[in-house]
Every structure is written in structure tokens, then in C-alpha cells.
């Protein structure tokens, strides 16, 4: 590859173009992956065309673009699932990819695509492998407990601190291989009984007009729901009470929370009603690890 000068001059440009023309004749092989069968004749073409032997060569055959995964062996379904998840946790995605089953390789034909898809799964910090259940036909389901760095954000929604998941392994090509996705995921959430504590602490900060202190008890810098409700405790002095939590089903204006965290918010968020001297509203909380954190506010229905 020629070194390109920082400042162009005409001679270098011509040389560059010369390289480009050669590139078109020779290096454009990659382009020629685009030619379909019978993709037009060359007669009259002003630009030389070369057909690659493997038209539309799959990216997987290209070095660095996901060369065929080296098969990774595991002695049992449990061992395969353990190694798959531990490799993922350690960032050794080539190992995890080598354990992926055939369906997984069809879905993710290159390591690069598999790698990119992992961002939509919660990062794993610890793996505990539990029971294995044989499902017949050389398949087994393995229950695992995974620890994650907990988070609530508008990209991933809820990342619980712990999940209990069932992963399927299959005996394929003489070795145990793992499906790309779990069969089921169950998040372990803190008990609802602890939600009012978090809301009480948050309201107390607001009663002292300490928005910064209150923000420290939130899941993030953004506060969702009507903008004015969080300001009420600072303005309405007197007795404020916090009631028992309710499911998110009761939300009057769920839209902002669904927009931010996805429809799954209904399964993990809670509403905690608060009552001031002249107003009442609900505080929406979500589980950040073992604690509840404030996500926003929700008005109380006029009915």
C-alpha cells in the first residue's frame, strides 16, 4: 500500500489514480462479489471487469471477517454451557462462537456479527451452573445463575443484578454445542417491601429542596414522567406519607417509561404512591441490583 502524502500534489494524485486503476482491474475482486449470475457482458465496458470465482463470496470466508470458527470441545452439556458463558463473560467471544450450535452459526454467519449481537445481552460477571435436564434427541437444558453489573438505562432497559436462565445444549458433529440464546430468563428482583424505603429517602431529600441529593437516589440523571411533580415536596411543606407499592399496571401515564425502557418495564417497575398536604402522585421505581431506585413520577388519576 503506498504511503500517501499529507499534502497532495498532481504527480502523487496521478500515481494514486494509477494505483486505483490497477486496483479496479485487480483489487476490485471484492466488488465483483456483487456480480450475480449473468450480470451483464463486458462488451463495450470501459472499465475492466474480473469475475471472482466465488461470486458473492460469503464474508465468513474472509480473514478477520469471521473465519470458520475453530470447534471448541466440551465433555458435557453442563461443561459446554459453562464454557460458553464464561468465555462470553471474559470477552473470549471466539471461544463462545466456537461452541455455538448450527442454528446459531446460521443466524450469526460471522464472529463479527455474533460479537455485535452480544451487546444486546446483559454482560455477565459470574456464572454458576446448576442442574442439567436431558431433553432427548441429544439435547439437554442447563439451568444457570448469572450475575450482571446492574443497570437501568434507555438502551438496555433493565439489567438485573442476577438472572436464572435455562440454556439449551445439543450434541452436534460429535460434540456439545450451545444455542445462541437462552430458553428462558428470570430476573431476581429485590422484594417490593423495600421500595417505599427508597421513595421515602427520595422524598425527604426533596422536602429539603435537595435535588442533587435526590438525584443520587435515582437510577439515572433523567427523571421520566411529568416534570413538575418532583418539585412539589419542596414547595408543599407539611406531612408527606409513602404508601405500599403497586404494580406498574396502575400507571396513569406509562408512555414515557415504555418509550425509555421498553414494554418490559411493566414487569419490573413499581409505583409507590406519595401523599402531601395538598397533592398526591406516584413515584416510579425500578430495581437496581438489590435496591430500588427512582425512575420518575406518575400522576394520580382524576377519577
Amino acid at each position: 500500500m503506498p504511503v500517501i502524502a499529507a499534502r497532495p500534489d498532481r504527480r502523487r494524485l496521478l500515481r494514486l489514480v494509477g494505483v486505483g486503476v490497477v486496483g479496479i482491474a485487480v483489487g476490485v475482486g471484492a466488488t465483483l462479489a456483487l456480480h450475480g449470475p449473468g450480470g451483464g457482458g463486458d462488451r463495450g465496458a470501459s472499465v475492466q471487469r474480473l469475475d471472482l470465482p466465488a461470486a458473492a463470496a460469503p464474508a465468513a470466508s474472509r480473514p478477520g471477517a469471521g473465519a470458520p470458527a475453530a470447534a471448541v470441545r466440551a465433555g458435557s452439556a453442563r461443561a459446554a454451557v459453562r464454557r460458553f458463558l464464561q468465555a462470553g463473560a471474559a470477552g473470549d467471544l471466539d471461544v463462545a462462537y466456537g461452541l455455538l450450535d448450527r442454528a446459531g452459526h446460521t443466524r450469526y454467519p460471522t464472529l463479527a456479527r455474533f460479537t455485535r449481537a452480544q451487546a444486546d445481552r446483559a454482560a455477565v460477571t459470574a456464572v454458576r451452573v446448576g442442574a442439567e435436564r436431558r431433553a432427548g434427541d441429544g439435547r439437554a437444558e442447563v439451568t444457570v445463575t448469572l450475575a450482571h453489573p446492574p443497570a437501568i438505562d434507555p438502551f438496555a432497559g433493565l439489567v438485573p443484578g442476577r438472572t436464572v436462565e435455562v440454556w439449551r445444549a445439543s450434541r452436534q458433529d460429535g460434540r456439545w454445542r450451545v444455542a445462541a440464546e437462552p430458553v428462558s430468563v428470570r430476573a431476581e428482583l429485590p422484594g417490593d417491601g423495600r421500595a417505599p424505603e427508597a421513595v421515602t429517602a427520595w422524598v425527604q431529600r426533596l422536602l429539603g429542596c435537595d435535588r442533587q441529593g435526590a438525584a443520587a437516589l435515582q437510577a439515572g440523571a433523567e427523571l421520566y414522567g411529568p416534570a413538575d411533580l418532583a418539585g412539589l415536596p419542596c414547595r408543599e411543606r407539611g406531612r408527606w406519607t409513602v404508601a405500599a407499592p403497586q404494580g406498574f399496571d396502575a400507571a396513569v401515564e406509562p408512555e414515557a417509561f415504555v418509550a425509555a425502557f421498553g414494554p418490559e418495564v411493566g414487569s419490573w417497575a413499581r409505583l409507590v404512591p406519595v401523599q402531601g398536604p395538598g397533592t398526591r402522585f406516584s413515584v416510579v421505581v425500578g430495581p437496581l441490583g438489590d435496591a430500588w431506585r427512582v425512575l420518575g413520577t406518575d400522576p394520580v388519576s382524576a377519577r
Binding site: G27, V28, T31, S46, A251
Partner: protein
Amino acid sequence: MSKFRKLMTVGGLAATLALVSVVGTLAPSGASSHREALQIAQDPVADNTDTYAFVSPDKPDTVTLVGNWIPLEEPAGGPNFHNFGDDVKYTLNVDNDGDAVDDIVWEFRFTTKVQNGNTFLYNTGPITSLNDPDFNIRQTYSVAKVEHGRRTVLASGLPVPPANIGPRSTPNYEQLASAAVAGLSDGSKVFAGPRDDPFFVDLGSVFDLAGLRPFNQAHLIPRPTEAGVDGVSGYNTHSIVLQVPVKELTRDKKALSGGAGDPDAVIGVYAASWRRQTRVLSPSGNNPLSLGKWVQVSRLGMPLVNEVVIPLAKKDRFNASEPADDAQFGKFVLDPEPARLIPVLYPGVKVPAAPRNDIATIFLTGIPGLNQPRNVVPSEMIRLNMGIQPSKNPSPLGLLGGDMAGFPNGRRLADDSTDVELRALAGGTPFTPDFNIAPNNKLGDGVNTNDTPFLNQFPYVGTPHQGYASDPHYVRGSATTP
């Protein structure tokens, strides 16, 4: 039944129907967005209008990425001025190993807050700061970075500046905009908000049967020669601008040791927008609910590929597809329709015959020795050699003007990508010497510069037009020659 349950039930039904429809037709699952495609033209908030990538002129150890959304914003369009979509995920994507798969993705999500719902006013007085109580309809956003299969939230609660309303409402607009520039924990710098649309093109003439006013007399339906008219002049857009250290973009996370010849010097860049699969409207007028998985609805790297090369029937599929699957669109690039139209609409002008490997090289692979990565998988991306230093005398014609720091090596705001691509389609480049003659290598729309100046520093994209002084579309292009 609670409101949330009702909405979820409706949403679940809609999602199921959508799935059945997809299985039944094997059609791409996403609606698409961009004014060049039928579906995206209906969805301006998700419409990625332009993407730019260039070595920062004042900080050459960094690269600036610009994604623009919302086409042709009328600056006076109040009382509810244009905003990013709360229900859209915007991304800037980088491929640093040429395999057409993203290696680094920056994701952006926005939240709109109305401070006071008891007024119709966007602002209840002059907006003098980003937390001014009179700034009534505000947006904030979060940024995440996806790399090596991990997503890291870099920042949240970052402010978006208001619309540039007028001398009473936003008297010190650039001060407000400057305050919205933020640093990120990975050493990057970010800005998101309204800007002047930096694209310049004679939309009115180009879409009138590919008319080029300076060449009006040569057209099949001739007209008197005229100066070009910038159809984007006076309009705004919404920009997300990100400035990233070069060493954060390379495959090995190191600064380039071999300059422009460094094997890791070339990156591919595109922008995209995503929506959830199902949108549920509320009978009570509340905000719609967005449910289901994220699907890509718009994608844009190289300008004008989806606009004028991909045919109507495939445009929304293109928007929903991944660069790694661009082989499906290869035939349109190798035999581009606009190139076939040139001899028809401009009788006597000859262009190279298909297959146009020269066009595929410019649009899909990058030019060998300049901006083609090793082992490149052809795909529609802006390809930037980060080792080429910014030009001290930039030419808007980029490489064709002898300026290797310009389009199609990356894309700078001032690059006249329309003229470069017109000439490339006509074969008026050194890649096709037989056709590198007049008029092929002189073609242009007569609009050679933007209507407002670009900034000398981040975020570079010009100040948005003010609503009060708005007179969009009637500002003439600056040049009378192509």
C-alpha cells in the same frame, strides 16, 4: 383492566399480526425512513439525511462524525419546533476492519420534557441558558457506546439546545449551542441539536428530470441556462456530532504509526436510525406507545446511493438492511440508473458502459491505495483514511480537485459531493480516461457552496437559521458556473 395492560394487549396483537405479515411475505420487517424512500419520507424524525466523516481540521488526532436527521426543517416552524424523536434510537456506526460489520456503535436516545403544560408556548420568555425556566419544551439525551459485544452508557441527561427562534426568544443563540457541547468518558466530544443543513444541492432542478441549470440548453427538454439554486438553503436539520480520538477508532486502539499507509488507517462510517416494531396510538391523545424489538428504518453512509442509485422498490429494504448484506444491491451500483439516464437526457453525452466497477469502487469498497481497507467487503459506507491530514487548501471537489483529504476519502461538510458524484457517474474521473473529458468532467448543479458558513471549531456544522429571519429556499446559490 389497567391502561398499561390494555395498551400491552393491543400492542401484543399488533406485534403478532406484524409477525404473521412478515412470515407471509418474507418482506423486510421495518418501516424505512429517509426522504429518498417511500416509507421514510413519511417519517422525518427518523430520516437520516446526511452523514459526514472527516479528520477534524483543528484537531487532526481526532475524527469528527456527523449524522443529520429531519430533512428540510422550516426554521419558523413553531410553536412546536422540530425535535429528535423520543421513540427513535439514533446511531453512528464505525467498521474498522473492512468486514462491513460494525465494530463501534454510538447510540443516542432522547427524552422530551414539558416544564409547564399549561401554556402553548415553546418558551415563556427569553431563553438565556439551557436550564432557563422559560425554556419550556426541552430535550435531553443519553449516549452509549457498543464495542466488543459490550454496551457502555457514556453519559445521560445531556442537554439539547433550543430551536433558534428569534431575537426575543433566543438572543444569544450560539452561546446556548456552545453550552450544549459535552465531553464523554471515552475522551470523545458530543453535540446534538438543531443546525443549518450543511448539504447544498439544486433539488428543484435535479428532481425536474435530472436538470442541471448550467447545462439547461443541453437537456433533452432545453431551457435557458441559469445559475444553480440551493434547494436546501435556509433550511435546518438536527445534527448529532461526535469527535473521537483516532486511537479510539483503530482496530488495535493505538494511534496510527504508519500515517496514511497504516493498515488500520481506514474506517467505514454510516449512520442509522431505529424504531420499535409496533406503535400503538392512544384514543385519549396521550403519546403513542412503542413496543417490540428495535428495527433499523434508515441507513446512510455515502451520499446519494440510496437516493438515486437504489430503485424505488428496494429503497426501504436498503434502509432496513445491514451493510454486510449489500451484495444484494450490487447490481444497481454496477449499472446505475442515473448513468444510463445521462445520455438520454443530455443527448450526445456518452458515459462508460456497465459494469461500472469504477462506481462500485468509489461507493462500495473505497479506492485502493487511498481509502480501501484490507480485505474489504463491499458495502455502502463512507470510507475515511484517518492518516491523511486535513488539507490547508481544501477543494470542494475533494479528490477530483487534487485534495486527498476530501470526498470520497471521507466526507467534509464543504465537499460538493453532488458534483463529484455527477462526474463520477458520467465517467468524468481518471478511473475512466476515455470519458474524463468535457462535459463529463465538468458536470455540476451550479451550487458549489453552502448558504451559511461552517464553524471553525466543534461542532463545525453551521448555526441554524433563525425562525424570525427565516426565508428558506429563496437564497440563490453562490456560483453561476457548475
